[in-house]
Symmetry: none
Subunit: 151 residues, 2 copies
DNA sequence: CCCGTTCCCGTTGACGCCCATAAACCCCCA
DNA sequence: TGGGGGTTTATGGGCGTCAACGGGAACGGG
C-alpha cells in the first residue's frame, strides 16, 4: 500500500515532538521522500503534508500565470512561503512548531488524517467539527440528487 | 534542496546584524551566489533577495515594455538603482541598513520568507497582515473557479 | 582619533541522536 | 479459543551538536 489512508491521534511530548503513525512512515519511505513538507491549508485549520512533489502541482499552475501579475505572486507566496519542512527524527517523530500550532490550533494532541497522495495534520477537536460539516454537506447533496435519504 | 522554502523570524542584535536562516545559507551556497542582491518590492513593504540572476527576472519584465514609454525607464531605475548588496559575514549574518528599514518598517526582528528562486525580508507584523490578504484572495479565486471550496 | 565594519570567541537554547520503558499487537501453540 | 511470548509502536528523557545571538577586539577609512 503506497497511499496515506485512515487516521489516528497521537500525543505531543514535553519537547514538542509527536510520532508520525507507523503506517504513514512506511508510505513515506516507500515513496522515497527524504523530507516532508507541510503547507498551511487555505480553507481549513490544517496542514497538508507530503513530499516536495506536493509543490509540483502548484508550481505547474503558477507557470501558467503571467509571472508579473498579482495572482502568480500570491500563489508563489502561498506555496513557497507558507510552508515548513518537517524533519523525521530517527524514531519517526516530528516537532510541532509555532508555525504549525498557530494555523491549526494544535495543543497537546495531533490528529493524522490520510488523504491518499498526502496526509493532513489537525487539532483533534477541530477535525471532528470539520468532519461533521463534511458529512452534512454530502448528505444534503445525496438528498438533493435522489429526492430522499439513501437507505 | 536548491530552492528557498519555508519561513522563519530572527532577531536583530545591537549592531544591526541578523542571522540568515541556516537553510537559506546552504541554498545560497549551493546556487553559487557570491553575493546577495536585495531589491525593494514595488507593491509590498518587503525586499526581494537573491543572486544577480534576480535582475534577469526584472530585465525580462522591462523588455516587455515599450522602451519609449516612461514605464520602461521607471522600471529600469527601480531595479538597477533601488537595490543594495548584502554581505554575509563569517557567521552567516547580514546587516539591516536604513535603506532596508525604510522600505520594510523592520525594527527588532526580521522575517525571512522563501519564494523558490529567491527569498524575501519582511517586518513580521506586516508579513502576517500580507499573508492574510493573500490567503483571502486565493480563496476567492478557488471559489470562483470551482463554485465552492475544494473538497 | 573616532566611528563603523569585520573577525572571532563564548553562551544559550533548540534540535537530533540515542537509549529505556510501557503498552499494543501479532503469531504460534496448547 | 485462550493464553504466552516475542515484536513493534508510542512516548519519555539524557546528552551532544549546532545555529542563533551577544559582545570584545582588531582593522580600516575619513
Amino acid at each position: 500500500m503506497d497511499r496515506f489512508l485512515s487516521s489516528s491521534v497521537n500525543r505531543i511530548d514535553a519537547k514538542g515532538r509527536v510520532s508520525v503513525p507507523a503506517h504513514f512512515r512506511s508510505v513515506v519511505q516507500k515513496r522515497g521522500y527524504t523530507e516532508l513538507y507541510a503547507l498551511r491549508c487555505l480553507d481549513q485549520p490544517a496542514m497538508d503534508v507530503g513530499g516536495l512533489d506536493l509543490l509540483d502541482r502548484y508550481e505547474q499552475r503558477i507557470a501558467q500565470e503571467d509571472p508579473f501579475l498579482q495572482t502568480a505572486d500570491d500563489m508563489s507566496f502561498f506555496c513557497h512561503g507558507d510552508g515548513a519542512f518537517l524533519k523525521l527524527d530517527q524514531d519517526g517523530r516530528i516537532t510541532m512548531t509555532d508555525f504549525i500550532r498557530e494555523h491549526t490550533g494544535i495543543g497537546q494532541e495531533v490528529a493524522f488524517v490520510g488523504r491518499g497522495q498526502f496526509f493532513q495534520i489537525w487539532e483533534p477537536g477541530r477535525l471532528a467539527e470539520h468532519g461533521a460539516k463534511v458529512r452534512e454537506r454530502l448528505l444534503k447533496l445525496m438528498q438533493a440528487a435522489s429526492g430522499g435519504p439513501a437507505q
